[in-house]
Subunit: 122 residues, 2 copies
C-alpha cells in the first residue's frame, strides 16, 4: 500500500492523468477533498478535478513526511504530511488521509483522499 | 454506521467526553485532523484534543448535510458537511471524512476523522 501511496504522489507531481487514473478505484464510492474544496464524489467528478488541477498554473512539488499506515482487513489508511515546495523553501503543509482498498486482484486502489491545510503556528 | 456517525456528532455538540470516548476505537491506529490542525495519531492524543476542545470557549452547533456512506467490508466511509451555526446563521462549512471499522462485537467504531474548512466562494 505504501507503493500505491507513492504512485499517487508521483502521478500528482508529474501531472500525469493516466497514472492518476490507475491509482484510483473507478467507482461511485470514491471521494476526494482538495485543500479548501468541498467534497467530490464518484470517479467522474474526482477525475475532472485532477484534469482541472493538472491543466492549471500550479505545478506542485512536495516533500512527504510523517507518514503512517494502518491496515484494517482489505482497507488501508495512510496519513501523511505534504510539505509544499515554493522554490527551494517549504511553503506550507497539507495533511492528508488516503484510504486504499485491496481489490480481488490484490492491487490497492485509492477510494478516498482528503487533504487540508495546516495552519501556521505563530 | 449512520447511527455511529450520528453518535459522534451528538457527542461533539454536547461536549460529552464519555460519549465521544465510546464512539472511537481505543487503539494506536486511530487518527484525527481538526480543521487547520496537524494530524493526531493514537487514542491518547485524539482524546486529549477533544478534552481541550470541550474545555475551550467554542460551543459548536452544526447542521449536517450532504451525507454519503460507502461500506467496504468491515470498513465504512462517511463523507458529510458540517454547517456551523453562528447564532441563527450558518457561519461556515467543514467537510469531513469519517472512517469506521466494525469490531468483532458488530459495533462500528471511529478510526479516522478528518475535517477541513471549505473556502467561501466569492
Amino acid at each position: 500500500m505504501l507503493a500505491a501511496n507513492a504512485a499517487f504522489y508521483e502521478a500528482f507531481e508529474s501531472r500525469d492523468l493516466d497514472r492518476m487514473s490507475e491509482v484510483w478505484e473507478h467507482s461511485d464510492r470514491v471521494s476526494c477533498v482538495h485543500p479548501g474544496w468541498g467534497v467530490l464524489r464518484g470517479w467522474a467528478a474526482v477525475a475532472g478535478s485532477w484534469f482541472a488541477l493538472f491543466g492549471g498554473p500550479q505545478h506542485l512539488q512536495f516533500i512527504l513526511t510523517n507518514e503512517s499506515v494502518a491496515v484494517v482487513g482489505d482497507t488501508g489508511l495512510v496519513t501523511v504530511d505534504e510539505n509544499l515546495l515554493d522554490g527551494e523553501e517549504v511553503g506550507g503543509t497539507v495533511t492528508s488521509l488516503n484510504v486504499f482498498v485491496r481489490g480481488d486482484d490484490g492491487r490497492w486502489r485509492l477510494v478516498a483522499h482528503h487533504g487540508s491545510p495546516v495552519a501556521q503556528r505563530t
